[in-house]
Amino acid sequence: MSSQPASTPDSGTGFTGVAIGLHWLIAAAIIGTFALGLYMHELPLSPQKLKLYSWHKWAGVTIFLCVLLRLVWRLSHRPPQMPAGMPAWQRKAAEATHVLLYLLMFAVPLSGWLMSSAKGFQTVWFGVLPLPDLLDKNQELGDLLQQVHMLLNFTMAALVIAHLGAALKHHFIDRDDVLARMLPFLARTTGDIE
């Protein structure tokens, strides 16, 4: 869109190492857990399936806690500003996507937990720490929550693709430092970016 190379006004303030670490840790965990969810769902009942379901649930609880930590970190450590030349609509879209992604990072594991409770399968984190069942067993509600869990997941997948597409657009088309701020090894040293 904009022809001028964007430069951050306060280029000294990037993401903290913790923010970068949590971003990629959670990204990898979400992608892995999402793929596991798609795969395990189709399997016929077997010990392997029970194992995979448990691992998926443990991962979900872990992601939820990491996202909680990440939110606290983000609220106490301001992220860098968006590039100066970004059009208003793109800023709004980016803002909305980030807010929605945060909401979904909480809502997806939460819906899975509720769904497990309603289906009568308690979540026991790493087979050690039992989480309370927030709902009584109710097969119909369980089936409904399964739909909700799936819908939230596919919504998140769509947003992640948009997020990824935007990051690549910033890097290869706008040629700004938006992606490099999250992937420091990509930082251009050629001088077109401060």
């Binding site: 010990p47 448990s54 009568g120 399968f121 308690q122 026991v124």
Partner: protein, 196 residues
């Protein structure tokens, strides 16, 4: 039987004292008030289940617990193992094999009074062509014409070849299954001794 019931009553009447215990026999099994539930552990997660169809023959006189008789027949296909997938799975050959072994049966061999309405029930449990001795503590709650027997026992599924092949390992589904039963029986006719 009749002599035994009347004996003390008559003796009591002669001696001018009330019978020490009312002779009452609980022998009418109440299926709709009885429950047979179990908890298995999958990946250390307790999963509740139950059997919906079972019959029992109970003959229990609180005054003569040692003479009590109890039998329980369970229609294994009536299982609710927690989910539809699980119900289909446990009916299969690796688990109950309900086509060949539709019924599990427990026959009591002894009832030992432990005091204060507690008893030790011992009997033979037959599932899937295998028979094992089992012992369960039982508590009796008596309310007028009705007696409720509550007890629990731990059944080891491997003893009955429940979960063969890929399920044989206890890493995913534990060997111990916690069974809880609640059997209700009423007294058929008032066999109580009449007071003079």
């Amino acid at each position: 039987m009749k002599y035994r019931l009347f004996g003390p009553a008559l003796a009591g009447a002669f001696l001018g004292i009330a019978p020490a215990a009312q002779a009452i026999e609980f022998n009418q099994f109440q299926a709709d008030k009885s429950t047979l539930a179990f908890v298995s552990k999958q990946m250390n997660v307790p999963v509740e289940g139950q059997f919906k169809s079972f019959r029992s023959k109970i003959t229990f006189d609180p005054a003569k617990p040692a003479a009590a008789r109890a039998e329980l027949e369970i229609d294994l296909a009536s299982i609710d193992a927690g989910s539809k997938d699980a119900n289909d799975e446990v009916a299969g050959k690796a688990w109950f094999n309900t086509r060949e072994f539709p019924v599990a049966k427990f026959v009591a061999t002894s009832v030992k009074p432990l005091g204060s309405n507690r008893f030790e029930l011992t009997g033979k449990m037959a599932i899937k062509g295998r028979t094992q001795d089992m012992t369960a503590p039982v508590t009796l709650r008596q309310e007028g014409n009705s007696a409720t027997f509550e007890g629990a026992l731990v059944l080891k599924r491997a003893d009955f070849a429940l979960g063969e092949g890929i399920w044989a390992d206890f890493g995913t589904v534990a060997n111990e299954v916690h069974v809880k039963f609640r059997l209700v029986a009423t007294a058929a006719a008032t066999a109580t001794a009449t007071k003079k």
